[in-house]
């Protein structure tokens, strides 16, 4: 191997991955603060605001506390599995970031794989092993319940999660994340032709990450803390880290697959992939900022969801997954297939746009018109 190829294939990807890794870790730590603060503001309180300016130093204070706390291992636990529990979801959650393009050009992606999307999906879905293992090794009924629920949930929602992507693949004709983004900038965001898929993808990615309203594996009111009941100190922090990293991965995927990634273009006009590449460094920074803004929007929607929706019952969760999401995803593939076969992708844009418009129209109508009459009280005589 020559020195040049060594640099090209080994050193640069590693450096890029390291930078991405550090940025991701900072974002993950900051998300913790953002989430607590936003939740507080929505719940008529202030959230963490004591450490530093508006509580911003909480980002550092939390890891310090986790590091200094005593690491308690239950005496009846399965030691090796208990130790592996928090590590297993962490590894794929970190590796995935070398496959995700954060901006235009090869500078922002450490490993461009032509089946990138498949690899990302394969890696993210291994995260559940750690949860099951940790739940089982804790030798605690609540932990085990949490782990089992997580497994069942993951199996149910992995299917619509994967199926919702098929429509996008059929339209774009590629599994390469960069090509998917390029296709979108030359046509239109996949959100419009694939609005059903985008909805399914978003709901299943909430379920994948065990976030409200699908946070049954760690349901506080039923299972104490679910699979991480027995975990303390840094091991607990690792679970949190894995969860937030997975959230970030899925937000990135959502942005890349449905919202045009780092581009801001329609029909080849605007800031397309090629335009950004032509702008050099400025284009790179601009693309990264656009990407970052879109990803952060989805991270905030996660928090917004958590503040709004109550938890599903377990049978409702299964109902939604198997009876609604999977048939809907299959139907979406069928309809998309027909449109693609007829060469009428354009028509799908307008249908999607019309659907979005109808929803917006319906939401912004005067509330008096669709006000639901108050529950009528009938006295039993």
């Amino acid at each position: 191997m020559t020195q040049a190829s060594l640099m090209h294939y080994l050193v640069w990807p590693l450096v890029k991955f390291l930078v991405a890794f550090i940025i991701v870790q900072v974002i993950v730590a900051a998300m913790n603060w953002v989430e607590r603060r936003l939740l507080g503001l929505i719940q008529a309180r202030l959230g963490p605001n004591r450490v530093g300016w508006h509580g911003l130093l909480q980002i550092i204070a939390d890891p310090i506390k986790f590091l200094l706390k005593e690491d308690i291992v239950p005496s009846s636990s399965e030691k090796i599995a208990y130790f592996l529990g928090p590590m297993l979801p962490l590894i794929p959650a970190f590796i995935v970031f070398c496959l995700i393009p954060f901006g235009p050009g090869p500078t922002f992606i450490s490993a461009r794989v032509n089946v990138g999307l498949l690899l990302v999906l394969a890696l993210t879905s291994t995260g559940v092993y750690g949860i099951i293992l940790g739940g089982w090794a804790s030798n605690n009924k609540y932990s085990l319940m949490g782990g089992l629920r997580s497994a069942a949930q993951m199996v149910s929602y992995e299917v619509p999660f994967g199926l919702s992507i098929v429509g996008v693949l059929m339209i774009c004709g590629s599994l390469d994340l960069v090509n998917i983004v390029r296709y979108q900038s030359n046509n239109i965001w996949n959100l419009f032709p694939q609005i059903v898929a985008a909805f399914i993808f978003f709901v299943s990615m909430n379920a994948e990450n065990n976030r409200t309203p699908f946070d049954l594996p760690e349901a506080e009111s039923e299972l104490v803390a679910g699979y991480h009941t027995e975990y303390s100190a840094m091991k607990f922090a690792f679970f949190m880290l894995a969860e937030y990293s997975a959230m970030l991965v899925n937000s990135c995927l959502m942005t890349i697959l449905f919202l045009g990634g780092w581009t801001l273009a329609y029909d080849g006009k605007g800031l397309t992939h090629e335009v950004l590449m032509g702008m050099g460094t400025l284009g790179g920074v601009l693309g990264f900022l656009i990407f970052f803004t879109k990803v952060m929007f989805f991270m905030l929607v996660y928090v917004w969801f958590r503040a709004t929706f109550p938890r599903f019952r377990f049978d409702q969760l299964m109902d939604l997954g198997w009876k609604w999401m999977i048939p809907l995803a299959l139907g979406n593939i069928f309809v998309t297939g027909i449109f693609v076969l007829a060469g009428q992708e354009r028509l799908m844009y307008w249908i999607g746009l019309a659907t979005l418009g109808a929803i917006v129209f319906y939401l912004t109508r005067k509330p008096a018109k669709r006000a639901v009459p108050a529950g009528k009280v009938v006295h039993a005589s």
Partner: protein, 180 residues
Amino acid sequence: MQVSHPKTRWADRFLLLDLFEGMKTTFRELFKPKVTVRYPEERLEPADRFRGMFKFSYDRCIACKLCAVACPIDIIYIDVHDEQREVDGKMKKLKVLDRYDIDVKRCMFCALCEEACPTKPKSIWLTTKTYELASYDRNDLYFNMQQLEYWDDRPKYTGLPEEDGTPEIEGQKLIAGGHE
């Protein structure tokens, strides 16, 4: 009692509009004023009937000991001696207070002493709106006559006592319930 729920429209159910409605509500909630009081910086004013720290007036007190009798847990300690004094040109036998101590750490703030006090205005009362009574030493909560009357000027603890036993003190007033 039965409650009949209205049927939701098909469009409402299919497009999950109730979810959006809920998200609209939480979004509006984000910008509403918050109820949190940032305690050390901000303080709530207690109600007028709030029972806080004792306040005692030596000049008003007639040393009748009624408050000590009324106290259900006997934490008011009063010592009195008689004195011949000249009042309006006549010699009179007067009771003079030697000791008026309250063991506040055991007090349950029932205000029966205040109720029993016959002077007008009361010479012992609790409606002072001071609630910051915490101390690092339980003996600090044993108040004598002077302390009960002049606790406004009492130095306040600002930190944990040092190892050598000389606590950090700051000449601040112990007045709560005000922003000044």
